[in-house]
Symmetry: C2
Subunit: 645 residues, 2 copies
């Protein structure tokens, strides 16, 4: 274990079994693989052309632009993932590679600061003429995020300077002031990036620009409509001509339901929460809280997947959560983590951290094979391969993970999230240190201007026992706030062996312990991980009469490889006893759940399609595995929601 | 009651409560309404322009063609419905109106016999250049069917002559012979129409042309591909570039699974069965039987809806029968009736008549409001209005019937089927008279060159008692073959009060009674109508753990208006006693089913989305109504398949 950043700054080094493996997979598999992709070195895959685009824009190479209009963002997310990876573990070769890409980007930057390879190569005179569709500000946002992360990881300022120059230029183009464009991005992203840029530069211009984009959104006359007129584009906007697609149907403070493209939505909500924190804007915070409630209490799958509709990769309506046609894009769950983390900064309520946990262990990790070599863009809760093959209305649901995507947003997004997992464990507010996630790690903080080291030891997510040890040069008074996971029906805590009455001091899901901490103080937590049969709200049509199995933060599923096909015929009686087994050689080591179940309707049908009812059931033993591990063995059917009885 | 056709020809006069009312609705509402539609006299509706197109093509009016490329077929189906209606009940005014339309069509016919308003007006030089997409032969087929029906109803030959001239011309264009186009229709229809034309004209050229179209279909090199090349159309065919869409992916005798557009499929299968009957072609019959088994044993809803996929209005794959996104076009079930009826002609198996019955009382009648004023194109088995409103993948499913459609194929198709319902009751083969459907009627046949009158009295479909009385001038020996409905678990029969041992003489679902019949011989049948809880084959994913209620031929459903919303929470325990009530003032008089049910998961959820399982159910009394009557009261949710327990 190496501490790579200079003393005095927060530093989290994950060292558990579970996440360390994932971080290594990102470093050893995903980052190199994606580098090849960006350089078109993968066989049998649609070329990315991302690096080539930058070289062409930089004048270092001739050729045509190729790829999606937001191809630059793939490169940005790769750079951001590299930054976090370097933070976790130095790698001079990788850093040198990243530096070389940053040099390319610098060369591709135009005199005035503009940096977008699509417009520079293809339509140099048409900058900012189609904010609605063409992702210029989105790409800028991702590049800014990458630059901030790279600066924080390496201390190197070049990339940051390039992006400050671009941001400064953007600030001359957009704003309420006369002569500026009163526009905002079709795909939100730059808003949250500008807050990060403000965090490292303390340049308020960036915060104001972010605030401008958020405040201007959805105002009338509608910018996207006016802009389309200027382009002489008279076609109705493809999403039923509804600008709720990019959450610009109303000013953001008037929005009460999550609508439209889910990733855009949560990126925007993240920025709104960040701005509410920075500016104390209560109306913005209220909007965030209303939207949070709508998303997590009415529109979120049990896996923390969001966006139940393929058309527009969008939210649908309250309680509309079909399991087999769900879109539940990996990126949307990642964005939900960003948002939840920003909400936590404004309001210390463990519910936000619960959602982060739910997303991390379920709807996000499901997006990547255990070996980091294949990815899901869409994370359904129910798959029948023949349906995906034959039904056009399921064409977005893939029965197996794919190697790469033409629209390759999700793989690099997982990479940057997993590589930065350490950022989600703690949250420090002056003399309060919140422990949000239980992940084995060693972390250094500065509290009362003194170094404090916190060490977590746990076998999470398979076991709810956590040991936290404090390392101090001298005794210090500060508060440790431990999150009690929402799934924990019971919880126990001791400090140096002495039992703590949790209930008495628990507030909004946190146990606040303020005391004079001494070196080697040890807190032991125990959250018994019982297998829970979870029911969905009765308004969720698709889950009526069904249960999902959850143990600790892990949602389970049944796979064909363990249970045979026609999983729809399996039901788990309430009375059936359920058992857990840790199988170390299965799926990188997982706890599985087994128990007695019923396979229904198992009579001789003799080719009949409809027959009078007669009961004929067979008792079977089912086996459930963590949802995030599905499709790492033989492909086949999968179901999260199983009939109860 | 009037007998309108001359003695010596078969004549069926329906006189029961149930179908008489429907026939009247067609005559008094649908035919006049559609006449207005065809003449663009309906307010707030997309104009049809069908009559105007004919006038323009006839040179009687100036203007542009408007409407779908197959607009002529709406007019044809209207004329066919008028013909059957005149057969049921003479109406000089209506006949005069039809004659005037026929005069128009005669004027629109080109010198060489060609008759298609789209090409005549819009692309006179491009006839037969896009058989794949443009419905020329389809429209010809519908006009031929109408002409045959009109001739049979009225004895007038003008329309028939016009269509013979067109058919003669078509025979000069298409065929295996050198110099002819080796094409066939993109939308099958003319094949079955030509067999009908042969039936009334005995001109073998028409039978041969039909046979040519069937035999040529799917041969290589593929006509549609070659034709597209000639048009310099290089786009892939929109249906995944798969010509299975029009069942031309393989020669018809090699087809074993029903695929592609469902209406096209069943129209083609109908022609195949007719040709198999006329020509004794065993390979064609074998193909029909294989396809029949696939459709009715693997791809048919309990309502006899077929075509489970919106994309291409198409068959999907075996056992893929989703209830909420089903396409189940009214026209497809109507086509299934045509096919079943043609199969019956070749092979006397009551299964075919069972499917006709299932379609008539369920998936077809559901297509029309009881008052004949509104129509469903799509007949789903499960509807949640909010889902139809919000979800793009349900946009084809309408929660209420519509007044008229831009693609108005279904309303006139229902009209012609209901008006001709009398054609489906009996089937005579020389001295065998098959009684396929139990509908109150009086019918006249010629057997042994003598008139035989058969009278059926029944309160079907609400009661399984049927009385059949025979009227003869002198004793006659012939066979009456009575169908035992597939749903009847028991059946009793007496002849003049004497019990018949049905089992001993039942073959393929028919009880054959050959004897010397005497005047006033009376056969009484009784098929006890028990309420059945029906289960679907376990391979049907969507119906796992569910039951549907059926009584006699009627499939039931639950509607929100009777049972409240969130129908997905209702389950009907196996143990619950079910009751029937004939409600004469409800929905034109129906038998309803009531019983004890359970409304699940009715605890206080307090805004939670997911909670640990706890049982809290409420006992309720549910009420089910016949599926075909749904949405004739307050609109809302509807479900056919209900959870059992």
């Amino acid at each position: 274990m190496t501490m790579t950043r200079k003393q005095g700054k927060k530093l989290v080094k994950v060292n558990d079994d579970f996440w360390s493996k994932k971080i290594d997979v990102i470093k050893n598999e995903v980052i190199p693989y994606q580098w090849k992709a960006l350089n078109d070195e993968l066989p049998n895959t649609d070329p990315s052309h991302a690096i080539a685009n930058v070289k062409i824009a930089a004048g270092l190479q001739t050729g045509e632009y190729y790829g999606m209009v937001f191809q630059d963002s793939d490169l940005a997310k790769w750079l951001e993932a590299v930054a976090y990876s370097l933070e976790n573990q130095p790698d001079p070769d990788l850093e040198q590679l990243a530096d070389s890409v940053i040099n390319l980007l610098e060369k591709a930057q135009q005199e005035d600061g503009y940096l977008n390879t699509y417009y520079t190569i293809k339509e140099p005179n048409n900058r900012w003429t189609n904010l609605r569709d063409n992702h210029e500000l989105y790409c800028a946002g991702h590049l800014i995020e990458a630059a901030v992360a790279y600066y924080q990881a390496t201390g190197k300022r070049k990339f940051l300077s390039v992006m400050c120059k671009y941001a400064d230029y953007i600030a001359t183009v957009f704003g309420k002031e006369e002569g500026k464009l009163q526009g905002y991005p079709g795909h939100q992203e730059i808003e949250l990036a500008l807050v990060k840029l403000y965090n490292v530069t303390e340049n308020e211009e960036y915060l104001n620009l972010s605030k401008y984009f958020i405040d201007q959104r959805g105002q009338q006359p509608h910018y996207f409509r006016e802009e389309a007129k200027k382009r002489e584009d008279t076609k109705p906007f493809w999403w039923n001509d509804d600008l709720a697609y990019h959450q610009s149907h109303l000013p953001v403070r008037e929005q009460t339901k999550a609508v439209g493209h889910a990733v855009r939505a949560v990126y925007m909500y993240t920025a709104m929460a960040e701005l509410a924190k920075k500016t104390g804007d209560k109306s913005l915070l209220d909007a965030c809280k209303t939207l949070w409630k709508n998303v997590t209490h009415q529109q979120m799958y049990i896996t923390a997947g969001i966006g139940s509709m393929e058309f527009g990769e969008a939210f649908s309506f309250d309680y509309d959560l079909p399991n087999d046609t769900s879109y539940t894009e990996t990126c949307a769950s990642i964005g939900l983590v960003f948002w939840a983390n920003s909400m936590l900064k404004v309001e210390k309520n463990a519910e936000y951290a619960d959602v982060i946990e739910r997303a991390l262990y379920n709807g996000i990790l499901s997006g990547m094979n255990l070996d980091g070599k294949k990815f899901f863009y869409v994370n359904p809760l129910e798959v029948t391969p023949a349906v995906c093959e034959h039904r056009h209305d399921h064409h977005h649901v893939k029965p197996v993970r794919q190697k790469w995507f033409k629209c390759a947003c999700c793989p690099p997004n997982i990479a940057r999230l997993v590589a930065s997992i350490g950022h989600y464990i703690y949250l420090q507010e002056d003399k309060e240190l919140f422990i949000n996630q239980y992940i084995g790690n060693e972390a250094r903080f500065v509290i009362n201007e003194e170094n404090v080291t916190i060490k977590q030891t746990t076998n999470y997510p398979w076991d709810g026992k956590v040991e936290v040890t404090i390392n101090l040069a001298s005794d210090q008074t500060f508060t440790l706030a431990f999150r009690i996971p929402g799934w924990a029906r019971k919880a126990e805590m001791t400090i140096n062996g002495e039992k703590v009455d949790i209930k008495a001091i628990c507030k909004d899901g946190y146990v606040y312990i303020k005391r004079e901490w001494q070196n080697q103080d040890t807190i032991k937590l125990e959250f018994p991980m019982e297998i829970e049969r979870i029911q969905a709200n009765p308004k969720v049509r698709e889950n009526a009469g069904k249960i999902a199995l959850q143990r600790g933060p892990i949602v389970y599923c049944l796979e064909e490889v363990d249970n045979g096909n026609q999983l729809h015929l399996i039901s788990i009686p309430n009375s059936s006893k359920l058992n857990t087994t840790y199988e170390k050689d299965l799926l990188d080591g997982v706890v599985t759940i087994t128990g007695e179940a019923i396979r229904e309707n198992d009579k001789d049908w003799n080719e009949a399609l409809y027959l009078p009812y007669s009961e004929k059931n067979t008792k079977i033993i089912f086996k459930a595995v963590p949802y995030y591990t599905w499709c790492n063995r033989e492909p086949g059917e999968m179901r999260v929601w199983i009939k109860g009885s």
